[in-house]
């Protein structure tokens, strides 16, 4: 099995942790989800830990901490989808990953879609996992999954509570994973996000979605796209996933939609082998058709 290394990389004036490894073949960039200071668990490169080694057996993989997470500081006036997207593009240049596949979770999925619109030549494909942030929501009823969080918010216990509430079962919420989430919450970038413009990523989502939808309607999503939904995701329904699929599929021929069973909002953690099979199949199929 390939060993993964954790490096600190200087990107666009900020330092970010990058977990990377695997042979030099068909690189994949992983973009985690969450809005710093708003999402009740602290994501980061560590969220991919169960599935990263599976991909790294045969592929080059890189997972980073987006601005506002880990030790990666956000700009003074806060993080946003487009700033995170530019940060991801800068990292692709810094690590010489292009052309790469990108896999994004929830907000990270929307950031991946944004980045592919901005610089399609850098991407072979986009995969969106449990893409609540990117999916059309219409006037959906509110999810009550995280209605009454225990205080203090972002404590280790409060994050364990949120992760379990979003999951099908808590089996993937191991102690070392919670340690990473707790360390991320205590780090200066996340503290700054809570104190200051913490909700800025959330505030930037509607504009990013509007840009995506208008582009899909009028032109075409520029690269092959895959949506990997989870059957028990409390944040986005299969119907919402199919709505996003139809929107992208209208003009992008190489679009696929998938549902993984017995998973909540973290299919790449809760069913990592299934997630690996589904994403690998998409990449393999595109490579065979090239």
């Amino acid at each position: 099995m390939s060993t993964l290394a954790e490096d600190i990389v200087e990107v666009a004036g900020a330092r970010t942790r990058v977990v990377q490894g695997g042979p030099e073949r068909e690189p994949i960039l992983f973009l985690h989800g969450g809005a710093p200071g708003a999402t009740l668990y602290c994501s980061g490169a560590h969220v991919w830990s169960p599935c990263l080694p599976l991909f790294a057996n045969t592929r080059r993989v890189a997972a980073l901490d987006l601005p506002g997470f880990g030790e990666t500081s956000a700009p003074q006036d806060g993080a946003s989808v487009d700033r995170a997207g530019r940060f991801a593009l800068a990292l692709i240049d810094a690590l010489r990953l292009a052309p790469c596949h990108v896999v994004g979770h929830d907000e990270g999925g929307l950031i991946a879609l944004w980045a592919a619109l901005e610089a399609p030549a850098k991407f072979r494909s986009v995969s969106v996992a449990a893409g609540a942030a990117a999916a059309p929501s219409g006037d959906s009823v509110a999810s009550l999954a995280l209605l009454n969080p225990p205080r203090p918010l972002w404590s280790r216990a409060a994050q364990a509570w949120a992760l379990e509430r979003l999951s099908y079962t808590p089996h993937h919420i191991a102690s070392d994973f919670l340690d990473r989430c707790a360390a991320c919450a205590d780090a200066p970038p996340h503290r700054a996000a809570i104190a200051g413009a913490g909700k800025s990523v959330l505030a930037s989502i509607p504009a990013a979605k509007a840009r995506l939808y208008a582009h899909c309607r009028a032109r075409a999503f520029p690269v092959p796209a895959q949506l990997v939904w989870a059957r028990h995701d409390p944040l986005t329904s299969v119907e919402q996933g199919i709505a996003l699929f139809k929107l992208i599929a209208e003009r992008q021929p190489a679009t696929q939609f998938h549902v993984v069973n017995r998973s909540g909002s973290f299919p790449f953690r809760e069913q990592p082998e299934a997630f690996h099979a589904v994403v690998s199949a998409f990449h393999d199929g595109l490579a065979a058709a090239r």
Binding site: Q252, Q256, F257, E273, V278, G285, A288, A289
Partner: protein, 300 residues
């Protein structure tokens, strides 16, 4: 559109006795067996399926698997059922006998359309023969209303002509250009076989389609869906659906996935864009990759 998977001809046909039925099959490669069951049924006059249906899948998958496509009883070059046994039950019995005759270890079974029903029924009745199950655009298995007769009734060309067969497969497809001359050649070859014409006589002239095949299929379907819903399928299962199929709506694939996924963790649903009824012919590279990666996961 790029088309890297060339239309590799199937390996030469071989013959085996499967439950007393002289059966033609094609196989290539080594490793865990994948067995393909195509769609359609015996005695159709407008079009005719045969093992050729899998010509874009057998050769590419043979690099990692023992890929096997056979002709179902009464279809392609395989003998007709004895007497008046023109039933789906006979198709399932013969398919199981074929797997047993080849003495295969548990197989990755793939069934398309009517063959998807046969594959599910075979898996439910003979679970020891099955390692994993892949169902592709099967209106026959789907609990929704199939629209084959809406889309394909009264072709604008005479029955039994190339034009008629071409019209049928083009109507099934998203991209009409995937219906190649070689595909139609294979259809016409089957339609011309005397034993195939005898099956048309049985189903149409003698009326077995109306008096036997369809009513028994409807009864078997009720039972099969009930078995699926009560959790009798206990093998990894995936449903692959072309998004633009005019005959078998993607919602039916989702219904089947929900029924299976309630009881089996290793269940997946895949929807493939710009594909009609035959995703394994419209996008062979992507279909083959879905199958290969699923089989690897199912065997892990």
């Amino acid at each position: 559109m790029t088309r890297a998977a060339s239309d590799t001809p199937l390996p030469d046909g071989r013959w085996i006795d499967a439950g007393g039925i002289r059966t033609r099959y094609h196989e290539a490669g080594e490793g865990e067996p994948i067995v393909f069951i195509y769609g359609g049924n015996f005695g159709t006059a407008d079009s005719a399926s045969s093992a050729y249906t899998w010509s874009l899948n057998v050769a590419p998958l043979s690099a990692r698997f023992r890929a096997i496509a056979f002709d179902k009883v009464g279809q392609g070059f395989t003998d007709n059922p004895p007497g008046d046994d023109y039933t789906m039950a006979a198709v399932v019995r013969h398919a199981a006998a074929f797997i047993a005759a080849l003495k295969l270890p548990p197989v990755h079974l793939v069934g398309h359309s009517r063959g998807g029903f046969a594959a599910m029924r075979l898996a439910l009745e003979h679970q020891h023969l099955i390692r994993s199950l892949t169902i592709v655009n099967s209106g026959t298995l789907s609990p929704r209303v199939g629209t084959n007769d809406v889309v394909l009734s009264q072709p604008p060309y005479p029955t039994g002509t190339r034009e008629c067969a071409r019209w049928v497969y083009e109507s099934y497809s998203h991209n009409r250009a995937i219906v190649t001359e070689a595909w139609i050649d294979a259809v016409m070859e089957t339609l011309a076989l005397p034993k195939y014409r005898a099956s048309v006589d049985k189903m149409e002239k003698e009326g077995l389609k109306i008096t036997r095949f369809l009513p028994e299929l409807a009864r078997d379907k009720r039972e099969t869906l009930a078995w699926l819903a009560e959790g009798r399928l206990q093998r990894p299962v995936q449903f692959v659906w072309g998004a633009n199929d005019r005959t078998a709506a993607v919602e039916g694939g989702r219904d089947l996935f929900e029924m299976a996924a309630a009881h089996e963790r290793r269940a997946l649903l895949h929807v493939v864009n710009h594909s009609g009824h035959f995703p394994f012919r419209e996008h062979p590279e992507r279909f083959n990759a879905l199958l290969a990666n699923f089989a690897a996961w199912a065997s892990a």
